[in-house]
Symmetry: C2
Subunit: 107 residues, 2 copies
DNA sequence: TTGACATGTGACCTAATGGTCACATAACTT
DNA sequence: AAGTTATGTGACCATTAGGTCACATGTCAA
């Protein structure tokens, strides 16, 4: 469990991997080749990053013939949230974040 | 803003730093010396970790004489959540996590 | 003001990480 | 069957990150 934690946080520590999650957040079920075209990096680098994300459970894959489809799994993200934000604090924090977003939209 | 992101995720990538956040989650306003006594590491290592957490905005400090009191700031954590979990998905995920916790409590 | 306490800085070493490449397997297409 | 497409593996190198230490500053208490 602690090792799982570690894999998740280590996986999130790299900007390229976070960008890959962003891509899957906007549209799921993408292949390696498709993701590769969005990133300034060789296929091998991207494959390595996807493997890290998969082993962390942040990305789930489904094979379809020779293609490998990638999906974002939000559960580990929610667990990070729950680790340091209890139900009571959550209300205050969300209010604060909403306020911050509202102010930024105005300008 | 992207640099801020990077600092937050890099800060969370280390197990010692996550443990320090856990300590501050249970009780805030701790000093360096106090936190040091909870960790198998020299004072210098802990100080370095706290600096990383502070620069990431995950920890906020208040000086009191020669002491430095540390507090957990949950806002960056919430922002991580909001980045990959939209309002619609949130309901499904929280239900899933609650179910998982319920099942684990039964055993 | 003298000594103990709390924290800060910069150098240094080792281990882990990100990225590329040569090579390899498996599956569609014609 | 042959060529093309999609992905997998292991070695390799440059860079970053975690941890310790010698040294230094600032604060409290007697």
């Amino acid at each position: 469990m602690t090792d799982d934690d570690d894999r998740v946080f280590k996986a999130l520590a790299d900007p390229t991997r976070r960008f890959l999650l962003d891509l899957l957040f906007t549209r799921e079920g993408r292949t390696l080749t498709e993701l590769e075209s969005e990133v300034e990096m060789t296929r091998f680098g991207v494959a390595k990053h996807l493997k890290v994300l998969e082993e962390a459970g942040l990305v789930v894959v489904r094979r379809s013939g020779r293609e490998k489809l990638h999906f974002l799994n939000p559960v580990p993200i929610r667990l990070i949230h729950d680790r340091w934000i209890d139900k009571y604090t959550e209300r205050h924090v969300t209010a604060l974040v909403d306020l911050k977003n509202a102010l930024e939209d105005e300008t």
